[in-house]
Amino acid sequence: MQERLKELQEEAIQKVEQSSSLKELNDIRVAYLGKKGPITEVLRGMGKLSAEERPVIGALANEVREAIAAKIEAKQNQLEEAAVLEKMASESIDVTLPGRPVNVGSHHPLTKIIEEIEDLFIGMGYEIAEGPEVEQDYYNFEALNLPKGHPARDMQDSFYITEELLLRTHTSPVQARTMEKHNGKGPIKIICPGKVYRRDNDDATHSHQFMQIEGLVVGENIRMSDLKGTLDVFAKKMFGQDREIRLRPSFFPFTEPSVEMDISCKVCGGHGCNVCKQTGWIEILGAGMVHPNVLEMAGYDSKKYTGFAFGMGPERIAMLKYGVDDIRHFYTNDVRFLKQFSVEE
């Protein structure tokens, strides 16, 4: 019987090794280890054995059974693994096919520019002030040292609604309103972005509606050198550390002294090209020390308080920064245009 068991073991192991599918393996399991299998049969025949032989054969039979079972399990693992590999091989896909699209929109380029400027100045302690787009003549002009009869307030240049109301021509009235709200006390540090309107025919460089973003700082010791330092930080962050800035004297009714700021031309590096009209410089913004008349009208003692203000056009900055060649693109909202600004820099 011992020999028979050994034979069975060898025979079964050989068959297991030769098996090539899980089904075949299962058949072997049933054939050898099943209730009707030869090992069971051997065990069933143990009644005929002597008391001495019985435990020996019993132990041997269990050994054989376990050896076969272990072999089957090993083989089964092996076959299963192979089956998984085979299945995966058949499941392979073309990873170069496009994915299921997720719709992504984006900021309008002007919003991108405005938020970038806002964030830059928020970091420097500024708040964002907003005001009405329909303004009183007083806040749009008079409070900014542009009295009635001033040539800069020609009816032809502004969209008047009545004698007293017009679409604001700049965001400066927000400055006047903010100062008035502060009741003659400092400090004020604000950025005023918003839509403004002028009576221009729309063409590649003019738009009857456009954006402006202005800044105002009023305090007891605000110096022109502070304006220069602030604009320097702004220009370098906005346009790059390698850009030079240049301040030129200029004229605005609401500032004295007045400043115009140029940055060195990125295209030619300052040597002169068509973009900078051969000058090497590109005009970016207007600024200056707040005119004492403006401070006084808003209730500030101009002997005690000084301030600086600056203003720029997001369209112009976007045009320079992104190379946009026609201002009308910003208001046409062609999706082929808008899509190009979904990239975060």
Binding site: N103, G105, F121, H208, R223, M289, T306, Y331, N333, V335
Partner: protein, 804 residues
């Protein structure tokens, strides 16, 4: 203002400063030089030639065959097409090998069988604009004076070996509308002297007042009128140097007398006018306001109808000039003029502006009066013109002038302390630096302690207050030399307001959901202004719109967004999602500021999903749009407070539109565009919304508070309800939530069936209900008790029965 570099050297020594260097210095100290034009750029090989013979070209009617001496031995033959070429003329000849503007190279040529060795040039061919070329030469070649030297550089003779600086003047610097004004500025920048022009001359013993009497009625408009008399003038061309200087400044030469007045306008910034004394018809000048309806023919031969707003110079009765704007045809200087009445006057800027605007006559003269001329330069400009007329028009100047002078000229005296200068500029200047700056500007300066007192010359009418002095100091010290600092003192926290913060959340969310931000115009047409408007108000209309399409302030954003869809759809982009945030304008009545309300609008059209290779294509529908809105309200913590109610909105699909309510108040709407609107705009199915962003972002929301995650399992019961077709799921859900609370934690629709297996007029809606108790495990019995209550309520309140 065009400034000739060569001419400027009459007044300031420019040794060692090139035109470009000068431009840079002027720009940096306050006047932007917008360009430097090299007048002879790209031109070479043009000389003075003498036409020794001119005959008709044998084979061409319109051509001349000329023999021209160009100072190189034998005369050369040149074929010329100009009608005015004649024997004996001195002309500009582009020799063979010469280069003319546009890189036009002159070569030997044969014209209709005749050899041509060069070209006789017009001024236009030498790069000058037709409008500044003297009229007699505008249709042909230019003719030099007879004394021009043959073979000499023609461009040098024409003063084209010059550079012109174009100054972009800000309104405060009207003083630089003259060569002398620029000279003062340049002298201050360079620290050099100003040389003044010659004016002294010998007068006749006859007095101007013997010839003319001046009366000014309107002294406010005309506080100073000076009439000088010049006799025996001979009208002819002005000297070539004067003509070329005028041309370089953009003014066309006419004759010696007119050219001299224009020359003085450029030199002193003082407009003058020359009348033909003999044509005045009287011995009187009377300055008065015009009568309403008075007619007058200006020297451009246009009859003008005047009003009492306009100031006129008259001969006592008839107008002979529109003051400061244009002279009259009746008294114009002609080739026969022998006696000139020369007007040098100070006219009020506003009066001149009114007249030049009313008649559309903006001129070099009117522009200068409008901006204000130097009151102290009126007389001297007249003297200088008389001097030039004596010198270049053979005139004899009568002694003195007939004048009316009610002008009081007080130079501005302004003080400032050194402490203030340094405090405001952030500089560390010393008093001697400041004094030196005002010296260079030729301002009067006196110093007492820390205070500097400055007397500004009358040419600088812009200097009025101490800040003006700060600017003078800053710009001549150099903006480059001011240090860079940042504000010191009490700090302010930089931040966005709550509203601004939430608006950014809204934008970021919508963009994440696939919508592009659009920015459109606030001005629109009457037709569009009120479309989709949530509130009806009066239109806010511009007083002077540029077009009907941009005449009224919008009451809603959607019409503009639909334009965006239409524009893109017409360009093969018919699947699109856009949104805009912006103000709408609600009238509060005439002369009252309107209410500006920020709105949010969005529009989606075409396909929402297009995963083509897997065959997934999903057009937009109401629930895509609603999903976007639900996500938005979830983001803002408003989910529980927002409700959607079936609604009718003009322009919208009557069955597919919802009013959106926040805490029970209407804040906007969402739905499908009316099919006819879609068709008009040529759009595919389009879903839109517009809501008051102000209302959405303005509400208080609860602070974020953590709620513990239930530790006990929930029990889910699904129910399919049969209800009338009109019953909306929202009603059922409300009933479920009310009856099921507090154990009911969630209820959502998971199926809707309206097919033919349903009884007529009925539909089936299936809800999944989730019950949970945060404190313990619920038993089946407990859930059943509540669930039965829910079913009961549904039956009672909505006639809903379980589907069998």
């Amino acid at each position: 203002m065009f400034v000739s570099y060569k001419w400027l050297q009459d007044y300031v020594d420019l040794t060692g400063v090139s035109a470009n260097e000068l431009a840079e210095k002027i720009t940096k100290s306050g006047i932007e030089v917008e360009g430097v034009e090299i007048l002879n750029e790209g031109i070479k090989g043009v000389v003075v030639g003498h036409v020794v013979e001119r005959v008709q070209h044998p084979n061409a009617d319109k051509l001349s065959k000329c023999q021209v001496d160009i100072g190189e031995g034998e005369p050369v033959q040149i074929i010329c097409g100009a009608p005015n070429v004649a024997q004996g003329q001195k002309v500009a000849v582009a020799k063979v090998g010469a280069i003319l503007p546009g890189n036009f190279k002159i070569k030997k040529a044969k014209l209709r069988g005749e050899e041509s060795n060069g070209m006789i040039c017009s001024l236009q061919e030498l790069g000058m604009e037709g409008k500044i070329v003297p009229k007699e030469y505008s249709e042909g070649i230019f003719v030099f004076p007879a004394d021009a030297e043959v073979g000499a550089d023609a461009l040098a003779l024409l003063n084209r070996d010059d550079e012109v600086l174009e100054l972009g003047l800000t309104p405060n610097r009207a003083d630089c509308l003259s060569m002398l004004g620029v000279a003062y500025e340049v002298a201050a920048i360079l620290g050099r002297e100003v040389k003044l022009p010659e004016t002294s001359l010998e007068s006749l013993s006859e007095k101007a007042t013997d010839y003319v009497k001046v009366v000014v009625e309107a002294t406010e408009d005309n506080p100073l009128y000076v009439a000088k008399m010049i006799k025996n003038v001979k009208i002819g061309p002005s000297p070539l140097w004067m003509q070329t200087r005028l041309m370089s400044a953009g003014i066309r030469p006419h004759n010696n007398v007119v050219d001299i007045t224009n020359y003085i306008l450029l030199e002193y910034g003082q407009p003058l006018h020359a009348f033909d004394y003999d044509r005045l018809g009287s011995k009187e000048i009377l300055v008065r306001r015009a009568n309403d309806g008075e007619k007058f023919v200006t020297l451009d031969d246009v009859e003008r109808t005047l009003t009492a707003d306009h100031l006129v110079i008259t001969n006592g009765t008839e107008p002979v000039a529109l003051a400061g704007v244009m002279g009259g045809a009746n008294s114009e200087v002609t080739s026969d003029t022998t006696t000139v009445l020369l007007e040098a006057a100070y006219f009020n800027g506003a009066t001149v502006r009114k007249a030049s605007k009313d008649h559309g006559l903006r001129s070099e003269a009117s522009a200068r009066f409008e901006k204000g001329v130097d009151p102290n330069r009126v007389r001297v400009a007249g003297e200088r013109a008389a001097y030039l007329m004596a010198k270049y028009a053979g005139g004899e100047v009568l002694e003195g002038a007939a004048e009316v002078d009610t002008l009081t000229v007080e130079p501005a005296v302004v003080s400032v302390t050194l402490e203030k200068i340094n405090r405001v500029l952030g500089t560390g200047l010393e008093m001697k630096d400041v004094e030196a700056i005002f010296d260079r500007l030729q301002f009067g300066v006196s110093v007492e302690g820390d205070t500097v007192t400055v007397t500004a010359p009358t040419r600088r009418g812009d200097i009025k207050i101490e800040e003006d002095l700060l600017e003078e100091v800053a710009r001549l010290f150099g903006y480059d030399n001011i240090p860079k600092t940042l504000p010191i003192g009490s700090t302010t926290p930089g931040k966005l307001s709550e509203y601004q913060k939430k608006r950014r959340v809204v934008r970021a969310y919508l963009e994440g959901a696939g919508l592009y931000q659009a920015v459109t115009y606030s001005l629109t047409s009457e037709e569009k202004a009120s479309q989709f408007a949530m509130e009806k108000r009066d239109f806010i209309r511009l007083a002077m719109p540029m077009s009907e399409d941009r005449s009224i302030l919008r009451l809603s954003i959607l019409p503009q967004l639909l334009e965006v869809l239409k524009y893109n759809s017409a360009r093969q982009n018919d699947s699109l999602a856009v949104y805009e945030t912006g103000n709408v304008f609600l009238s509060n009545g005439v002369d009252v500021l309107p209410e500006e309300k920020e709105h949010l609008a969005g529009a989606i059209t075409g396909l929402w999903n297009n995963h083509s290779w897997q065959g997934e294509k999903k057009p937009v529908d109401f629930f895509v749009l609603k999903g976007i809105l639900e996500g938005l309200f979830a983001k803002l913590g408003l989910t529980e407070r927002v409700a959607y109610v079936q609604a009718q909105v003009e322009g919208m699909h009557p069955g597919r539109t919802a009013e959106i309510r926040l805490d029970g108040s209407k804040i906007g709407f969402a739905g499908q565009l009316h099919p006819s609107v879609q068709k008009d705009l040529d759009l595919k199915d389009t879903y839109v919304f517009e809501l008051s962003l102000k209302a959405v972002l303005g509400v208080e929301t609860e602070a974020l508070q953590y709620q513990s995650i239930p530790r006990y399992p929930s029990i889910t019961r699904d129910i399919a309800l049969v209800v009338n077709r009109e019953t909306v799921s929202g009603t059922l859900k409300d009933i479920i939530v009310k009856a099921g609370s507090p154990l009911l934690k969630e209820a959502y629709v998971f199926d809707l069936y309206e097919g033919d297996k349903m009884e007529e007029g009925k539909k089936s809606i299936a809800f999944s209900l989730k019950y949970v108790d945060p404190e313990r495990t619920l038993t089946d019995e407990e859930v059943t008790k509540v669930h039965d209550r829910v079913l009961e309520a549904l039956k009672e309140q909505a006639g809903a029965v379980l589907r069998g």
